[in-house]
Amino acid sequence: MVIYLLELSLSLFVLGAISGLVLEYKSVIRLSSAFATLASLSLIALIVEAYGHLPIKGEILGTPIMIDGLSLVFLTIIGVVGLADAIYTFNYMDKYEKLGKAWVFALAYNAFLASMVLIVTTSHLVWFVFWWEIMTFSSFVLVVWDEKDSLWAGVEYYITMHLASTLPLLLAMAIGYSVVGSFDGMGFSDVAAHIGTLSPGLVKLLYASFLLAFMAKAGVVPLHFWLPPAHSSAPSDVSTLLSGVMIKMAVYGLVRTTFFILKPTVTFGYLVAMLGVVTLVVGTLYALKQTNAKRLLAYHSVGQMGYIWLGVGIGITLIGNSNSTLAFIGALGLTAGLFHALNHALFKGSLFLSAGAIEYASGTKDLNRLSGLYKLMPWTGIFALFASLGISGVPLFNGFVSKWMIYEAGYYSKNFWFVLGALFALLISAVTLASFVKFYNSAFGGEPNELTSKAKEVPGSMLIGQGILSLLCLVIGVFPAIALAIATLPVGKGVITTGVLGLSFHSIYFSPVLMAIVFGVIFVAFLLLLPPKAKETAKPWDCGSTLFPEATYRLRASDYYRPYEKRISAFYALGGFFGDLGSEVINRTIAAYVWVGKYFVRTAEIPWVTVKDVDDLRDGMTLHLDDALIMPVVRFVKVVGILSKAAVLLVLIIVAAVLAALIW
C-alpha cells in the first residue's frame, strides 16, 4: 500500500511535469500546481499509512526503495512544504507570465519535488547520486528563472554544486564500487557491509567526501556563499523549496551516510558539531545586517542549518558512548537536530512565501522602502509574525522547542565544547530575534508609504500556502508531540517521552499546553478586567516638529543595530575576505569552463557576446551565459520546445506509460 502511494505520488508529479505541453501559460501553471498539490497530499497519506509499519521495502522502476524512520522525517518535510508551496504557486507564478515557458516550469518544478522524494526513499547509493543530480539540475533551472539578476547567482550555485557536491559524491561512489565490485550491488547496506575491507586512508576519504558533499548542499560555512544569492534571486515559491526542503536533503544525506554506511565516530561528530557552531554564528550575524527581505531570510537558512548540524553533531559524537546518560544525550541531540530541520522547513518556508507575497503586492523586497503593510495585508502580516516568532524561538512556537532541546543536549553533555556550542546557539538565538524584529517591523510596522499604499492582500491560494505552514508553527509549538512522533522515529522511543501535555526527558520537562493555558487565562483575565479603552485616534506624537515629513518618521531597516554591527565589524571584515576568496575560486573555475567550453560551443556564435574572460560573463552581457557554459542541454530542450513540443510530449508520454505499466 505504501509503495502504491509512493508510485501514485510520483505519477502525479510526472503528470504535473508534462502538463505544460498543451495549454497556455496560466492554465499550465494551475494544472501543474494542481498535480503537485495532489502528489504532496498522497505523500502525506503515505506518511500516515507507513507510520507504525516501518521499515518498508519495495521497488519502483527497478530501483530499490526503503522507507524507514529517517526517510519519514524528510518525507514529512517534502509533503507538507510541497503541499503549501504548490497551492501558493497557483497564483504566484502569474507574476512571471511575460517570460512564458510555463512548460519548463512545470517540468522543472515537479521534477525537483519528485527527485527529492526519491532521494529520501532510495536505498541504493548510485540512485541516490542520480536523483541528487536531478535535484541539483532542476533546482538550477528554477533558480535562473528570470534570466536576468539570477543568472550569476544560478551559475555560482551550479558550479559550486558540481565542484563541491557532485564530485565528492562521485568519488564516494567510486570508492563504494571499488569494494562492492558492481553498480547493481551498491545498496546502502551492501556498501556498509564491505566497508571493513577498505584501507583506513580510503575510509577517511569516504568520510571526507560525504562531509564535503553535504556541507556544500547544506550551505555550511565556508561553503555557504552560493546560498544567499541563489535563494534570494529565485522566485519565492522556488526559494521556499530550496530553503525549506532542498538543503534539508543534505541533512538527510549526512545522517543516512554516517549511520547507515559509515559508523558514527567521535571525531566526525565533533567536526560536524563545530561546523554547525561556526555556521550558525556566521550565517546569523550576516543575516543581521541584510536589508533585502529574501537575502535576510537566506542568510538565516545558513544560520539555522548550523543549529541542525550542531544537534546532529552532538548526536554523532555521543550516541555510541558507553556511558548510558551521555548516549542518551546523543540521541536527544540527534532528535533535536532532526526536529529543528522539520521546524525550519515550516517557518522558513512560510517566511519565504510571505516575502514573496510582499514582493507580489508591493513590487519590492527592499525592507528600507517597505512600511505599514499590516494595515493592507493583515493575513500575510499575521502569518509572517507567527513564522518570525517561530524562527526566533519564542515559547509557544515550534522553533523554541527544538532549539531548547539543542541547548539542553549541549549543556547536559558535560563537554566544554558542546556547552560552548550551546552557549553560542543561545546567543545567536537573540540575534535571530533581533533580525526578525527588523524583518517584520520594517515591512509591517508603521503606516503605509507612497510605495506600499497601493498594495493589496494577495490572492487566496497564496494565503492558504502561507497559512498552512505558519499555523503549523503555532500548532507544533503548543503540541510538539505531533511533530516529535515523527522526529523521534530514527532514534526510537524511550529517549523522549511525549504526551498530550508536552515532552520530558531525563528529569527535564516542558509542557507548552499548560503554558498556553496559563498564558491564555492570564491574558484573557486582564483583557476582561481592564479592557483597552482606546476609541479616540491621534497622530503619532512627533515632539511638535510640524514640518517633519511623516513618512520618514520611523526607523529604516538599514538603521537597526548600527552600534552592534560596528562592534563586530572586524568579524564582517574577516567574512569579506573569505567571500572574496570564494568568488576567486568560482571565477577561476568559470575561466576553466570557458576554456574547455570553447572546444564544444563556438562562443562567437552567440549573438552580441564575445567572451574573453570571466568579467565579460559577469557584467551586462550575461544574457546568454547559460548557452555558453553549462546549459547546452537547456538550450537543446528550448530549441526542441520551440520547434516541436510534440516531440517532447511523445518522450514524456512514453515515460508516463512505462511508469503506468510499472504501477499496474
Binding site: V419, L423, A430, K535, Y564
Partner: protein, 307 residues
Amino acid sequence: MMERISIVGIVAGVVITALLPPFLDGIARRVKARVQYRVGPPIMQTFYDLQKLFGLPSLRPTENKWFRVAPYLALASAFSAAFLLPYGKWVPVKFSGDIVVFLYVLAMVSVAIIIGAFSTQNAHSNIGGHREMMMLLSVEPILGIALGIFAFKAGTLSLSEIPLKVPASFSTVLAYLLLIYAAYAESGFVPFDVAEAETEIAGGVLVEYSGRLLGVLEYAMLAKRLVLLWLLSTFLTIPILRGIQLTGIAGGLVVLVVQLILVLVAYPIIAALEATNARYRIDQAVALNTRIFLLSLVVLAVAAVGW
C-alpha cells in the same frame, strides 16, 4: 496535570506578583528621594498612579491591533514566568522546571513590548524598541554563560535543583554574580533604562502609550522586575537554608518569608544604586555588556578547568 498545579502556589504567586511590584516601586521612590534630599511621595504612590492610569482612556496612534494587544501580552508573559517560580515550597503551575524555559518566557515581555513599540509610525517609539532589543541582545549571552556554568557545576538546569546542588566554588560564586548583573541589566534599572529613557527619547517604547494601556504596560515592566528579583532571591534563599531541615507547611513558610525579606532588602539597595547613577547611552550599555560577556567567557573557562 493536577500534580503540576498548586492552589496555594497560585494564590501566593498572584498576590505577590500583583501587589508587591507597585509597593516595591513605592519604596524605591522614597529611597531615591531620600538619597536626593527630597521628601518623596507616599509609599503607595505607584498604586495611586496605576489606579489613575487604569481609569483613563487611551489614545490610538495607529489602527494596528498589535499596539493595543501588546501591553496585555507583556503582562501575561510576566505573570506566566512568575508562575514557574517557587513561593515557599509551592510552585503555582509547573509547566516546566527548567531555567532556560523560564528565562525565555520572561524574555517574551520584551518581545511583546518591541512588537507594540514598532507598530506605530513614531521614531522615538521605534528607537526605544530598538534599544530594548539591543539590551536583550547583549544581556542574553551573559545569562547564557551563567547558566552554562550552573549546568557544568551543578549538573542540572532545573530551577529547584540548581540552588540545592550547586557546589560552593570560585566559578559558581562568579556565576551568581553574572546572574545578578544580567538580571539587573535585563530589568532596565538605571543605568540600563535606555529603552524608556524619559529625558532623552521621551519615554521610548512608552511614548505613544497613554491611559489604561500605559498603565498595563508599566505594570508589566514592574512585574518583570519582581520576577527576576524573585528568581535571584530563590537562588540565594535555598543555599542559605540548605543546612537547616525544613519540612511541612512551616518549613515552606519559613522559605517564603526569607524570600520576601531578601526581596525587600534588595529593592532599596537597587533604588540607591539607581539614584546615584546616570543612565548609560545605548552604546555605553552595549559596550559594558560586551566586556562583561568576555569576562564571563573567562569564568566559563575557569569552571571548565574545575575551580
